[in-house]
């Protein structure tokens, strides 16, 4: 997805539209998961839209990002198509991973999405590796990793940032501090007030941004990208944000109050805040948001219809792509189990 210029009114409207699209996508996932149409586990990004959109709008098309178990927002912000993503969530052959990955493993390397990543923290070294390729092969791209405050307790996160700092890799680390790690409060997980303060331990800049402000996120990532592209190394950006839904859909959330959720939704919502600002600036006219909302609702409805109508993969497709080449052991066991010859789907 094209880089946005956040001082340009048309691009500002595009950013708002992307945020609305993500929220509407997630609402559809919420409802259709509850109805049993979407299998597996889903973790929704509602509330955090400004982080994905702000960050990805400051990136170039060739840049790579890694995501988390809460990855739909990052996928859409990086330019993945809502229909193909929805089809993947529905387990259909026309999805990004041909139904093999689902919500937790959605990926599209053509759009620079190296994968949603439900092993907490595991995307961080992968984005670091994308930065390493850029450095060793003189590529223009940077690697950006989205991860949560929970991941900041994982060893591989710190190992990766330290490595990138030591080698001046073109990498950007965006920790989305939504105050909860799975079902545990921030205070149970960390002994520092700001995760960005840890940047001092790696000798890199640590930046705190309002994760409910898409422009604030954009500015920080744009600056970090410039630094990375100059060869000056990585930046750690902490986006203070909030997730409106549970850790997973179905989470009873005994760890927080409805009042707290309402307070964020009503007073700090990223979409409402940005839309109001654009109205004040005259970028958004009366009725524009509603029009945009209707348009994204139509897009998402079409995505759901597309996913519903898409075929499931054939069972034997389960054996494709274990390796680049056919694996004789897989074939051996299929034959031994009597699975060759094609069962009906």
């Amino acid at each position: 997805m094209a880089t946005l210029n956040m001082t340009d009114p048309s691009d500002q409207r595009s950013a708002l539209r992307r945020m609305l699209l993500i929220r509407e996508f997630e609402r559809a996932v919420r409802d259709n998961f509850a109805d049993g149409e979407i299998p597996g586990f889903v973790h929704l990004y509602i509330g955090q839209e400004a982080v994905a959109v702000g960050a990805c709008s400051a990136l170039e098309d060739d840049d790579y990002v890694t995501s988390t178990h809460r990855g739909h927002g990052h996928c859409l912000a990086k330019g993945m198509d809502e229909r193909t993503l929805m089809a993947e969530l529905y387990g259909r052959r026309d999805g990004y991973c041909s139904g093999k990955g689902g919500s937790m493993h959605a990926a599209d390397l053509d759009e620079g999405m190296l994968g949603a990543q439900p092993i907490v923290g595991a995307g961080v070294p992968l984005a670091t590796g994308a930065g390493l390729t850029a450095q060793l092969r003189d590529r223009e791209w940077v690697g950006l990793s989205f991860f949560g405050d929970g991941a900041f307790a994982e060893g591989q996160v710190h190992e990766s940032i330290n490595l990138a700092a030591t080698w001046d890799l073109p990498a950007i680390y965006v920790v989305e501090n939504n105050l909860y790690s799975e079902g545990m409060t921030y205070e149970k997980q960390h002994n520092v007030e700001n995760l960005a303060d840890s940047a001092a331990a790696y000798g890199i800049p640590g930046v705190i941004v309002d994760g409910m402000d898409v422009e604030d996120v954009y500015d920080a990532v744009a600056e970090a990208r410039e630094r990375a592209a100059r060869g000056d190394g990585p930046t750690l950006i902490e986006a203070k944000t909030y997730r409106y839904r549970g850790h997973y859909e179905g989470d009873p959330q005994p760890y927080r109050t409805q009042e707290e959720i309402d307070e964020w939704r009503e007073n700090r919502d990223a979409i409402d805040t940005f839309a109001a600002r654009l109205r004040e600036a005259g970028v958004l006219d009366e009725g524009d948001r509603e029009e945009m909302q209707s348009a994204v609702e139509a897009d998402i409805e079409a995505a759901v219809e597309y996913a519903r109508d898409a075929p499931f993969p054939d069972p034997e497709e389960a054996y494709d792509d274990v390796f680049a080449e056919p694996n004789p052991d897989v074939e051996y066991f299929r034959e031994r189990l009597g699975r060759t010859g094609g069962a009906d789907p």
């Binding site: 586990f41 387990g91 139904g99 990955g101 937790m104 790690s181 066991f333 189990l337």
Partner: protein, 328 residues
């Protein structure tokens, strides 16, 4: 009393595990539980209510830090405590393999017995939830391969109680695998707080004269349903319960009777539990076997997300039935 004539209250695997842990927490104040979301019951709510009963010194949340969870468990076990560490999904053992493989497994040996390692690690494994490749793995053969680690994976409430008690009380490191699809399975559970099952003791769950099916976890239920459905062949079903050490004698005795062996386990087939069982029977009962041993498992793929794909790679009752057909 064997598993065949087991009596007791009908409980689910989940209730049984919770009760066993509650009783061990009450019995021994060096026992404590830790893991992600453990204070709210952990993944799949096995430890629900225990935090309220015992408080944070005994039941505590950890940061999302599998390496530190297991590593600090090893250190605590070496210095006087009896930790029960929950790593949630068994796939996450990959993150903390170092303290498992190099510390917990080797410390007693390297230090020539100067310390004991009374550490229990709970790991939730198995597929069937469309949870995709990183939340569905069966890794118990990987762990069973480690010298110095004991691994158990009981399929029944009775086995769950007896082996959880033994694991917690053991002075050796034990990885306790819980299949996420059997938490609701019910069965009779002996009431005694001191009911234990030795690690390394299999359970014969159904006697039969014609074919021995060694099955684990969820596939025990599938094997039993095959056995009940088949009128043409009399199937004996054995749950090894312990994977390492493995009860070779009970399986060998069965094969001496039946002359036929099927091994069903949700691991990838290469270098799996199936291979270990088959090898031990080949070593000991080669001349008792009438036909080649058959294996049922996952044909060396990761677990895919989409329902028809996941269904395709997972072993089923039908495949156990086909394997039985191949040996009779």
């Amino acid at each position: 009393m064997s598993a065949l004539d087991a009596t007791g209250e009908e409980l689910s695997v989940r209730e049984t595990l919770r009760t066993a842990l509650r009783e061990e927490l009450a019995r021994d104040d060096t026992v404590f539980l830790m893991g992600q979301d453990e204070e709210d019951g952990g993944s799949f709510e096995v430890t629900a209510d225990l935090y309220e009963e015992f408080g944070r010194d005994r039941v505590r949340d950890t940061p999302i830090s599998e390496t530190a969870q297991i590593g600090s468990g090893v250190g605590a076990a070496a210095t006087g405590l009896r930790p029960v560490v929950n790593v949630s999904y068994s796939d996450f053992i990959a993150i903390c393999f170092e303290p498992l493989m190099n510390q917990a497994a080797k410390m007693q040996y390297m230090f020539a017995g100067a310390t004991e390692m009374p550490l229990t690690i709970r790991a939730i494994e198995g597929a069937g939830f469309n949870a995709a490749a990183q939340h569905s793995s069966t890794v118990h053969t990987l762990v069973s391969h480690l010298p110095g680690i004991k691994a158990v994976a009981p399929a029944t409430p009775r086995g769950s109680k007896g082996l959880m008690k033994t694991a917690v009380r053991s002075d050796d490191p034990v990885v306790f695998f819980e299949h996420k699809n059997i938490y609701e399975r019910t069965g009779p559970v002996p009431e005694s707080e001191d009911f234990t099952i030795p690690i390394g003791e299999a359970a014969v769950l159904r006697e039969g004269a014609d074919v021995t099916v060694v099955a684990t976890q969820q596939l025990v239920g599938e094997a039993l349903s095959v056995a009940e459905d088949r009128t043409d062949v009399d199937v004996e079903v054995i749950d090894p319960q312990s994977l390492s050490p493995l009860d070779t004698d009970t399986i060998a005795e069965s094969v001496r009777k039946t002359g036929r062996l099927v091994v069903a386990d949700e691991s990838p087939l290469s270098y799996g539990l199936h291979a270990e069982v088959a090898t031990r029977i080949a070593e000991n009962e080669f001349y008792s076997l009438d036909v080649p041993i058959q294996r049922v498992g996952v044909p060396d793929t990761p677990i895919p997300f989409s329902p028809p794909l996941e269904d395709e790679v997972l072993p089923t009752a039908e495949e156990i039935g086909l394997a039985v057909d191949r040996v009779v």
